[in-house]
Symmetry: C2
């Protein structure tokens, strides 16, 4: 029974176990805090004829689009990051978009799956937020139980084929004394957006007001704290949506794919 | 006149200047030591119908295949890494392979260029060797004026489409006391092969004798020095050749493409 399983019980479970529970319909909630120390990933699924351009897009824009794995067409198994997993049913919730419009939220893709679909797994900020906390750098939206505030910037991504659009950033307020630490620990993880793209000057990114994020929730910025901006995984989804592909499938916000990779596997030093 | 230009003159020249000299036929030599501090790149050119699988191959094998840029089909200009450059004539020497066989070495691609060709620029070890030298870690093959010794390992790359084959590694002997430094400075550059794949145990890579490299030259290994192995950019070329594509074009060994990027642009911390 879903009610019997608590988030705490799964905090240190093996990813295989949690993916199994999800596949059996026993976990339908967001995945934050599950399988701590394991890499969670954003999912973008596109038809094959668009996938090649999207792959080039991720290569040209690695900060917002850190690619962990791309499957072969029709393959349901991410053999590099979670052997044995099934991308059609191992995430708690999916979103189906047609021509850029949200059509449905579903709990599996068994009915909709087709052999020409290509799946992209992209790194997510959970990895570097865990590293920030371990390094003693507070993460405000976690403290306040909110979604991270995200802002559409005036910086265009490098386009590829039909895919183009602005960089989206997430913001975390950091005390000046902790900024070097915040930068060092996040730069260790280029596969999870890496170091920040901007420190302290929202206007230079075309951001008008920090209290009105384009996605997520506003968070408290205390006196003397500086807003620090990281490239955000919403970027590729926003870009893909803008291209209005006939079919695009993503994870539902916060309902990520839990890989077998450990966070430290992504650390480059 | 080619004879008037010395390697020393160009050691600190701007990449645009040297690419211009190459384009005018005034420099036909290897590019090591030119434009010091700038990123040099391996070049692989493939027909469009094979390029998508090759792009996936680079994503699945980032240590041997650190992708700096992939051009759009037919595009001669690497807009990310060297705006204004012409990949058809800005390298001193190219190799043309047909069906996996070396057909010719040429000094430009003006006659052979076609609109369906896709160019891949891949990071090269010059970047991290400069960092090793700056950190006080000697690089033996440079001291001895040789090519780095390279070995075919027993480790398969992750395949993609028709592209598959073993990992090729380069070897540099390092004193045990300098190994941490050697690892730290090279790990800073994942776009130039990053940290080593193996330290001290050639047999575990299936390497029988260090004195008989598969490519390059053997180097002296002094008493108490330990062989350290890095993923090598010969890997993608060997893999592509094995796939016997109807047409493949690469740089001639040592005759690299000089980008505008600075080495430190590739440092992740």
């Amino acid at each position: 029974m879903a009610e019997d399983i608590s988030r705490n019980t799964l905090a240190h479970a093996h990813p295989k176990e949690v993916r199994g529970l999800i596949r059996q319909g026993k976990w339908r909630q967001p995945t934050a805090g599950l399988c701590q120390g394991r890499v969670q990933a954003n999912l973008v699924i596109l038809p094959r004829d668009l996938a090649d351009d999207f792959l080039v897009f991720t290569q040209r824009n690695p900060k917002p689009c850190p690619l962990l794995e791309v499957t072969g067409p029709g393959s349901i198994e991410p053999v590099q990051t979670a052997p044995g997993a099934d991308l059609r049913q191992d995430l708690p919730k999916y979103r189906i978009y047609r021509h850029g419009q949200l059509e449905a939220e579903v709990t599996d893709l068994m009915a909709i799956w087709q052999d020409h679909l290509v799946s992209f797994l992209l790194g997510c900020s959970f990895t570097f937020e865990a590293a920030m906390l371990q390094a003693g750098v507070p993460v405000r939206h976690l403290e306040e139980g909110k979604n991270v505030p995200m802002y559409i910037t005036n910086r265009p991504c490098l386009p590829a084929g039909i895919f183009q659009g602005p960089l989206v950033v997430s913001m975390r307020p950091v005390l000046p004394v902790l900024i070097p630490q915040a930068i060092q620990v996040t730069a260790k993880f280029p596969s999870a957006h890496g170091g920040p793209v901007q420190v302290g000057d929202p206007a230079s990114l075309g951001i008008q007001g920090l209290s009105r994020p384009d996605f997520g929730d506003p968070v408290t910025i205390r006196a003397s704290e500086v807003p620090v901006f990281w490239a955000c995984g919403v970027t590729p989804q926003a870009v893909a949506m803008r291209a209005k592909p006939p079919l695009m499938i993503t994870h539902a916000p916060g309902h990520m794919f839990i890989t077998d990779l450990k966070d430290e596997d992504l650390a480059v030093y």
